[in-house]
């Protein structure tokens, strides 16, 4: 049983003068513990696909099954809870709440899950240690580098103990050295916590690091291969 299954997914944006077919009849599955890159040129539909995968947007057609739940049929209120408990999110930039420290940012997601204060604190500290920010816990996002901020974002994504983590171009705003080390860290988390990572990118060096690479072009899956 696949962790995630996209069935006949298509997405058409009608907000523009000419409707845009961002995704065309996508059928794909993702398994537990995958470390997968969604790649493709700008405008190929990566973000659209991740948004639909993460329940942030509804497809025009088709169904999304996660852990046996059809999220396309969920009520908005239930969907928020589903995202909170099942999916970790890392976005391209500005992931964090600027007025909270790194530690508080990681704790916040567990607060939403109503985890007790003590457990919250402990878990957040452990995760920040894991992502290599044990000494920066009390810094605010503005006092951290772009790479460090993304590490906090990954720690937050993991804090909710999700079924998988979605990261839309997590390295797009980073220099290549920070990008490399963020990928190192994500790979480590993938192994250490058996966590599924699905991330989009158009950076060749990042693509190399993925175990599976799904290439999109023009809203369709052009290639789906396993990296050696």
């Amino acid at each position: 049983m696949a962790l995630i299954e996209l069935k006949d997914i298509s997405k058409t944006y009608n907000t523009t003068a000419v409707p845009v077919n961002a995704l065309k009849d996508i059928n794909i599955t993702f398994e537990k513990q995958e470390f997968t890159a969604i790649v493709g040129p700008s405008g190929s539909g990566k973000t659209t696909m991740l948004n639909i995968l993460g329940g942030l947007d509804k497809p025009t057609n088709g169904t999304v099954i996660i852990d046996n739940n059809d999220i396309t049929k969920m009520k908005p209120g239930n969907l928020v809870d589903f995202r909170l408990n099942k999916i970790g999110f890392v976005f391209q930039a500005y992931n964090l709440i600027p007025v909270l420290t790194a530690l508080e940012n990681v704790e916040f997601i567990m607060l939403l899950q109503k985890v007790s204060k003590k457990e919250r604190r402990e878990q957040a500290e452990n995760l920040l240690q894991d992502v290599g920010l044990g000494d920066r816990m009390d810094n605010r996002p503005s006092q951290l580098s772009g790479g460090q901020q993304q590490r906090v974002a990954v720690a937050r994504a993991l804090a909710s103990k999700p079924a998988f983590v979605l990261a839309d171009e997590p390295t797009a705003n980073l220099d290549s050295k920070s990008a490399e080390s963020l990928l190192d860290m994500m790979e480590e988390m993938n192994k250490k916590h058996n966590m599924t990572f699905i991330f989009s990118t158009h950076d060749a060096r990042v693509i190399k690091r993925a175990r599976r690479v799904v290439t999109l072009e023009d809203g369709m899956v052009k290639e789906d291969k396993i990296n050696k």
Binding site: G54, R83, Y94, V99, I109, L111, L112
Partner: protein, 405 residues
């Protein structure tokens, strides 16, 4: 944590938040101070009316209430005095003779209320003796002395030691002319009172009426503190069922109305100010939400429920408003407190105030309950101000809010 977050969020744009907090503070300060002045004025009007003549509780015969006639006197004065003496919060009482009549000089005449008093007893109720601006307060023993108001003296072209003719009816309806000498002129806060009241010794009045027994039409009572008024009125009313026992509020309903409506006016005043501030607060919060659309989108995306986002924005609005509100109430409170003990000298405008019957020294005050009422009003305003921004914050599509092209 949500509370802390909300508090931190309002300080993200310090300048903008401070401006709105300052606006709320100044608005409330001004509103409260104006309210306190109105309340102080109302209290001063009430106090001067009580001090001048009214007293706290007055007793008349029921007939006298309908028809101010010499024959409608209180039949059993002794019983009234016994009932009064049974109360322990009485500061003093005065038995007055009231006659409707005319005061005439060589120049002209004017309709007046002729009040016969006992010099000492009256002192324990009214402060008329402190209002003498010329002459004295029945300090000599000469017969037929009269004390009149400055306004009446001017009107009738009379001075101290002038002769004045008082005309009134006796119990048989016969007209009595009484020639008196003016030995005192008073000036109170109320020019109407000064124009229409003249005071005589009760003995002189009874002699002219050929009465052996003193006719009492009115018994005015001063209690030790205003808070005893309702109790005293109740006790006396049940002890003296045949008589009309009334508090100053019933005697002078217009005064009672002014005093009670000032509080309502102050609320209205502050409500209008808050209403104006509401737009500022809403605008401020809207800007703050629009600036954070991306962040709010991310929070919704990672699993923050609409209700929590709504609550956060509401908390921010409440914090912002209450910070300004508490500052405004504190500064306003100090200001009011200071002028309450120092007083504000309004003698420059005193002529205008006289027609209102208010003293020239003003002591602004605001009842403590008002601060509670205001806090509730500010909270209410904050809730309304938060509606639009919070609606905006909860009706965003995360995919749209987060999208970076």
């Amino acid at each position: 944590m949500l509370t802390q977050l909300a508090w931190k969020n309002i300080w993200r744009n310090k300048k903008r938040s401070l401006v709105i907090i300052l606006a709320i503070m100044l608005g409330l300060w001004g509103g409260l101070f104006s309210g306190a002045i109105m309340m102080g004025m109302a209290e001063s009007m009430v106090d001067s009316a009580i001090d001048r003549y009214l007293g706290h509780v007055e007793i008349h015969s029921k007939k006298f209430k309908d028809d101010v006639q010499i024959t409608n006197y209180i039949k059993d004065v002794k019983a009234v005095e016994n009932a009064i003496n049974a109360q322990d919060s009485i500061a003093g009482y005065s038995k007055r003779t009231i006659l409707e009549g005319m005061a005439a000089s060589a120049a002209s005449s004017f309709g007046v209320k002729i009040v016969g008093i006992d010099r000492v007893a009256e002192k324990s109720v009214s402060r008329l003796y402190q209002k003498i601006v010329d002459g004295d307060y029945f300090d000599t023993q000469k017969r037929n002395q009269v004390i009149i108001g400055k306004k009446l003296a001017d009107r009738l072209n009379l001075k101290l030691r002038s002769k004045i003719i008082l005309t009134f009816q006796d119990v048989h309806g016969e007209i009595i002319y009484l020639a008196c000498r003016i030995t005192g002129i008073f000036k109170t806060e109320s020019s109407v009172f000064d124009e229409t009241n003249v005071f005589l010794r009760q003995v002189d009045l009874m002699r002219s009426l050929h009465q052996t027994e003193t006719l009492i039409h009115e018994i005015a009572i001063r209690v030790k503190s205003a808070k005893y008024v309702p109790v005293v009125e109740q006790n006396l009313a049940s002890a003296l069922p045949g008589l009309a026992v009334e508090t100053w509020e019933k005697m002078a309903p217009e005064l009672a109305f002014v005093s009670s409506s000032m509080e309502a006016f102050t609320y209205l005043f502050v409500a209008i100010i808050l209403f104006a501030l509401l737009f500022g607060i809403t605008n401020n919060m809207l800007m703050s939400v629009v600036e954070r659309i991306r962040e709010l989108g991310i929070l919704t995306a990672v699993g923050m429920k609409k209700s929590r986002v709504f609550f956060m924005i509401l908390l921010e609005t409440i914090f912002l408003s209450m910070t300004g509100g508490i500052l405004g109430m504190t500064v306003g409170g100090f200001f009011i407190g200071f002028f309450n003990s120092a007083g504000i000298d309004l003698s420059a405008f005193a002529t205008g105030l006289e027609s209102f019957g208010s003293a020239s020294m003003l002591y602004p005050f605001l009842p403590a309950s008002m601060y509670i009422g205001l806090t509730i009003m500010i909270l209410f305003a904050a809730n309304i101000a938060a509606l639009l921004p919070a609606w905006k914050a909860t009706h965003l599509t995360p995919a749209e809010a987060i999208r970076t092209y």
